[in-house]
Amino acid sequence: MTDISYVKTERHESLPPPKSEVGIIHWLRSNLFSTWYNSIGTVAVLYLFYLVVPPLVDWALISPVWDAQSNQDCRFEGAGACWGFIGARINLFFYGFYDMENYWRPTLVGLMLLFLAIPILFEQVPRKVASGGFALFALFWAIWAIGGIGTVASLNLAVAAGVFLFLAAVAIASYLKAPRSACAIAVVAAFPWLSVSLLYGPLNVESLQSGFGIAIYAILLIGGGALGLWSRQRRDALGTMVGFLLAYAALVIIYMSWGMDLTVQPTNTFGGLMLTLVLSVVAIGVSLPLGIVLALGRRAHTMPAVQMLCIGFIELVRAVPLITILFMAQFMLPLFLPEGVNFDNVVRALVGVSMFASAYMAEVVRGGLQAIPKGQFEAADSLGLNFFLKMRLIILPQALKIVIPGIVSTFIGLFKDTSLVSIIGLMDLLLIAKSSVTDSKWLGLEHEAYFFIALIYFVFCFGMSRYSIYLERKLHTGHKR
């Protein structure tokens, strides 16, 4: 009989790992040369790189023509890419056929979007830096606009004042530690209309052209505001909401019809990167909230009518190609609209792309909702949270976090799908590139044009992809120590 009793008397100390488990050599060995076929693969890929990369670098960076008046300047032995062509046509690529003296308008909208988005997208940006940057931007812009430096001498002082006040208000609010959500609401409530007024100009609102119409809007504005304030004092949530919404809607319409007194820039002059961005930003901005609503509606088992409606919309839109939806928006929408009502082409494309993206987004979000364990719903219920609080505070933050990769994939797909609007005649980035190489001065420069727009698409899509990784890391709470 062997003695099976054993007692450990002291603890074993932790030792450093052996040399073969750490360092560069270990990494190369285990990742690139772990087996003989892996080694062959590594060598083959390196050889492929050798074949492809040097000529590409030579073409794009070492021997291109940076300055050219026409394609003749690029036609000599050993010439690389004809970047001079991109330089000469850069405005076309960025702004389409937008009037040159109005380039500042889309630029301003873009910069505003950038400045507004950064503090919302990145929580680490300290408030002081964010609001300081914002205030500086507003100030520079006001000086530039009021001073009429450069080509903007015709600029209306009111534009400068309006935009400056808005930006300054957001900057001050965020500096004064207004909740981030309040700043976000201010941005969401003002930015879209500000952008429309800047990009397009005043809208033609017929009902505002008679004294009677003006009176009605004035009554809506003042009455709505009064109702809102009065209900707020009586703590009547519904009345407050309805009152303020009425006043807000009236204000928006009045404001849009004034349009900061700019000249109208017809939407058929929109084009290039600017149009691509307008389409994708609007579609992204619409599809996420609408997708969430549709996803929740699809799961609303207690309301069969709502459920049917949501399922119908999602399945119908998903079952039809985007091109078909765009064609339908183009040619069939007028059939359903009353005589005289006419939608702008760009607006039609916006509606089509947004609807399409919303249906996909709804299914992505639904996937996230389904991944939330039942216990989370029950815990929220048991604490007395009502449906909206439960969704907003407990379920959606978790569900959306799970589907960040799916959401961003949808955004990326959407961004690239906007190139399909070219088939209904909108001059987006792709169509601009395609048509710019048919110019007799620049014939035969397809490589450069497509390479350039591919680069633009890549920068935006890769940026979105990186942002999604950043977000996932930031929201990861499981094992953070």
Partner: protein
């Protein structure tokens, strides 16, 4: 019987005020009749342990009390509020009834402190500062104030369950429901959760616990209910229940869980 018993449970004060009144309650899942004619009156300050084989409907019964499950016949009155389809009533009941789950169900995207302050701030409209103060007192009471800024994923099972108890207590409930609070825990961690529950019982909280911790039942409960097949088969004071069960099914169940 109760006076001779050593159990602290029976010695604690029970008022005449009725906290929960269940009358002739039935529930079906589709064709399946899960709960059959449940009648139960719980007085304020009572500590009731519900036991029974799995599938006997004990969890379903306590989940009916805060309307996580809907009953189809009979009535449930909690704190003089009858549970009907009226959402206002349901929310009112849920504010007064805390619940602790088998799998903790903490909110993983929020810190421990945020888990505790969320409902007071959003449902009871307590100012944030006050909510944090009261949450910290409850976290001290369950003995984990130092974990307040961690996420649930970083805590052990026992710690998570104690946070879940603190989270419920932060709403100042008058009744607490426990749905197998120790069943998902490692043996080492069961006692820390039970100690918290004993502490809570001694403070006079009205409690209904679904549990198989018979030691806890003897020590704390003033009444033990045995359920099987969706019915209440037997109920009695703990000493009498364990030492002198009447129904055959109770005897079988007790012999199975006590002698293994």
């Amino acid at each position: 019987m109760a006076n001779t018993a050593e159990s602290t449970g029976a010695a604690m004060e029970i008022s005449d005020e009725v906290a929960i009144q269940i009358n002739g309650m039935h529930k079906w899942y589709g064709d399946f009749h899960v709960l059959k004619d449940i009648n139960l009156t719980v007085h304020r300050g009572e500590r009731i342990v519900v036991c029974g084989p799995s599938g006997s409907g004990k969890s379903t019964m306590i989940r009916c009390i805060n309307r996580l499950e809907e009953h189809q016949r009979g009535s449930i009155v909690v704190d003089d509020i009858e549970l009907t389809n009226d959402l206002k009533n349901i929310d009112a009941v849920r504010m007064e009834v805390g619940m602790v789950f088998q799998h903790f169900n903490l909110f993983p995207h929020l810190t421990v402190l945020e888990n505790c302050t969320l409902a007071p701030i959003w449902v009871r409209k307590v100012p944030k500062k006050e909510a944090i103060e009261s949450a910290m007192t409850y976290l001290e009471r369950v003995k984990i104030p130092e974990q307040a800024h961690k996420y649930p994923g970083q805590l052990s099972g026992g710690q998570q369950q104690r946070v879940a108890i603190a989270r419920s207590l932060c709403m100042n409930p008058r009744i607490m429901l426990f749905d197998e609070p120790t069943s998902a825990l490692d043996p080492e961690m069961i006692s820390e959760v039970l100690d918290t529950m004993i502490d809570l019982a001694q403070s006079g909280m009205t409690m209904i616990c679904v549990t198989h911790e018979m030691g806890f039942a003897r020590k704390v409960a003033n009444r033990v209910i045995f359920m099987d097949g969706g019915e209440i088969i037997e109920q009695n004071e703990p000493e009498a229940f364990f030492n002198n069960p009447q129904n055959e099914r109770t005897k079988l169940f007790l012999s199975q869980i006590l002698n293994h």
